[in-house]
Amino acid sequence: MAATIDRDLEQQLQALRQQGGDTVKVEDIGEVVRSLLSTLSGEMSAGDLKLYQELEALADYIHRAKDEIAQLRTDDLQSRYIASATDELDAIVGATENATNAILDAAEKIEEVSREADPALAAKLTEATTAIFEASNFQDITGQRITKVVKALKHIEERIEGLVSAFGPEIAAARAAEAKSAESGAKPTDEELLNGPQLPDAAHDQAAIDALFNNG
């Protein structure tokens, strides 16, 4: 059907070109449209046309969405932000666990000392250490909550991986553009300098800071 429409239309447009070159009268355009519609009426219903328009709108929408997803820099989200967020959350769990164990060490030492104290004092010390043991429960709950968040982030990461493989060429183009921009060697902005606490493996200790400071 499409080939027939294209052939009829082409013949009419050719005739118009021969008559008036690139300048076409409005009534001639109307004639082309009427001719086109009459050709369509036998082959395509109003419902078909509506469906075609809807499909075309849908295709436009998908195309725009694809562009917007490419602009999101999904590879960057995945490699930098999500990976970093899960590392930070793991670091929170590790740090609070270490702190909890240090508190428990101290509480156990107080318990040992309480055995040498008179009964009244020992009872008070035991009451205090019980409160410490009870309060230390928080670490388990916090750890479980953070584990749930990490699982949610991993789920998002998997979905992003799907997007990355679906829109590979667009993302590669965006990456190339950013790399070119980074090569310009501009100084980091104030915002770019605010990274918060570093993960233990990546952090400089005070000696390294002193060395950097004194060499600068």
Partner: protein, 128 residues
């Protein structure tokens, strides 16, 4: 019958800090023979090889969960009468129902305090 504070108690949790907390609270209650396992399968092996008067177990562990451990214990002719207290952050009604159906002796929701631990132990073992 008086509770024997020298009986063996098995505490099961994949989180070592929690094992330490429960051990300390039990010690404050006068129980001294406390052993630890970090998942259900390790606990089951220890239960089959030993003589325990109480199991206090977490639910959410791998590879064998606390609920699976409970079912194994209740299905084992030698172990089926062992008192079993679940200590877990799982607090939905369906969890409590599932644990009850599997034969749990009592159920403690984390975070918990020493008073709750003692009260549940008394309800399972009797006054001590």
């Amino acid at each position: 019958m008086a509770v024997d504070k020298n009986m063996n108690i098995l505490i099961v949790d994949d989180y070592k800090t929690m094992l330490r907390i429960i051990r300390n609270l039990l010690r404050q209650l006068g129980f001294v023979n406390i052993e630890e396992a970090t998942d259900g399968s390790m606990a089951l092996q220890m239960l089959r090889g030993g003589n325990f008067g109480l199991v206090i177990s977490d639910w959410n562990m791998e590879p064998m969960t606390g609920l699976q451990l409970l079912r194994e214990v209740r299905a084992d002719a030698k172990l089926k009468g062992t008192p079993f207290i679940m200590v877990t952050a799982e607090s939905k009604s369906e969890n409590v129902i599932a644990a009850k159906e599997a034969g749990v002796s009592n159920y403690i929701v984390k975070p918990f305090n020493a008073e709750t631990l003692q009260a549940k132990m008394v309800s399972v073992l009797g006054e001590f």
